[in-house]
Amino acid sequence: MKEGFRQSMAWLHTWSGLLVCWVLLLVFTAGTSAYYRDEISLWMKPELHEAAASPVPNTVAIENAIRMLEKDAAGVSRWFINAPSDRNPAVSVGWSLPPAPGEKGRGKFVRHELNPATGVPLAEPRETRGGEFLYRLHYDLHYMPAKWARWIVGFCAMFMLAAIVSGVITHKRIFKDFFTFRPKKGQRSWLDAHNALAVLALPYHLMITYTGLVTLMFMYMPAGVDAVYKGDQKAFQADVFPAAENKKPAGKPAPLAPLGPMILQAQKHWGGGEVDRITVNNAGDANATVNISRQQGQKLSYLRQAVQFDGVTGAMTSTTGDTPSGAAESRGVLMGLHLASFADPLLRFLFFLCGMAGCAMVATGALLWAVKKRQEAAKVLAKGGKVGFGLRLVEGLNLGAIGGLPIAYAAYFWGNRLLPVGMEKRIDAEISWFFIAWGVATVIGLVRPTRGMWQIMLGIGGAMFMALPLLNVFTTHSHLGITLLQGKGPWPVVGFDLFALVFGFFLLYAVRHLQKKKSALKPVAKARPQAKPTVPTVDSDELVTREAT
């Protein structure tokens, strides 16, 4: 490698990007959709749409929840209550059932969504993992142990980090080409698009990659913990996450003090803020305790303040998280940036936009490489030679990923509407639609990566997305006719339907663009029959022919 610094970085950028780009595309698309995972989950549970339209103050919702728990979960040692928030209109309650006789550990965890205004459990929403599936997909993948998935994703994230740094180093004209995009110029256009998407959202790409690694940093880099704590995980956890102590039940019954005053006290201590999560230990016992944590709100760091109370007297006993150290706050901020829970709707949309730019950056990078190699292979092809294995593989994987993933996501949403509500293993069935659709698309892509197939796949993806709002008309009572035109909401559902329309339209527009290019090129080829040896008609060559002439 006797090249200059910039050239070696160009080489590094190409390979660190190309080798993992298809996994990164999955991670980026799933992760970007996760910004709206609660809204996606809501869309996927039409049974909750009515509750979403009737909000009440959080204190009322929580009191309703407590009354339901006292009735249906009396005697259980710990209750969880999640207050309604911007993202979930229902108040959710949960508890662990005692383990089955003879079994150790915790029993099954039961969760209910309650109408916040009445405390009545909402009609069992259809079993679906909703947006959570997409969120978990981006770091736990699927059909494999979470540990493997996280190592794979972490490995790819390091490759991405190397690609970003080497990309910046090698981009000589990063300021000169800052606003440059030259369409209809084949390889150059792909490069311009890739550069623009990368540079204009560079702070985001760098942040999201680094903070992604930080989120699982103790798994990826345990060396620090090991060196200092010599493997004593518990001691380290205790130092970093000071949890309030849990008392054992005393065996003496005592009524639980009302939570309302406790909430007010907590809020007074924090100087404002909203309640996020309440944990009640040993309810109804003399040793009952209540832990009330604060919603992150608009704070960057994801670390939560919490106040602990005696469950019987209602007196404040301790607080945690009020003064984190600089290092803890740094980690909190970095994780907070990745999760983006602090973001208000506007900022969240900007994050989403940058995430989409990231997806497009990865896709254009992969396409750019394939187009470039095609062009370089033009001479060989002209003499009747065949495309190399590497290029063939990349073209196939590109089609499978870029053409196939939209179909996969659409299939997941279609499955949510079409699969029978009461069926067994519904969640697994819905998820399998995602992977079956993607698998079929990938196989087809590898077998026939032609321009025609690109049009077909993008067309199917576009049609499936645009048809989602229409599908709603036949399968729910909360389609655009009601939610938007009658103004009843819930608005997240409206947003989802509108996004599906816009995204589907964008894909269909791409198909039309590919069609127009095809017909526009034919006259050019005819006009110069003797100037070039006839190139065998392999569809993706047309971009090449244009560039070469």
Binding site: M9, M217, A223, A227, V228, S325, G326, A328, S330
Partner: protein
Amino acid sequence: MKSNEGLRYRMGVASRAVAAILGGYALAAVSTALMALALPMARADAVLTATLLSFTVYVCAVIWVFAARDALRAWLGIGAPTLLLGLGVMALRGAA
């Protein structure tokens, strides 16, 4: 002759890949351990800070490996610091 050069090239790439992926990780790990032991702050904070910085060390190591003029330099640039820092870690752990 051409196939020989081709092979040499591939070996060089493979060697650098190993240096970057495995060697880089080793360097990052050992510098994390050293920082965690040596930074003048509370134990937990030192560990946090060191671990947060580990990925920066890792990516810099990767850049070095591929920017180095030849494979030998690449390995030296990773191996020597790793060894030195490793000795440092052992010394501090022994003293602790």
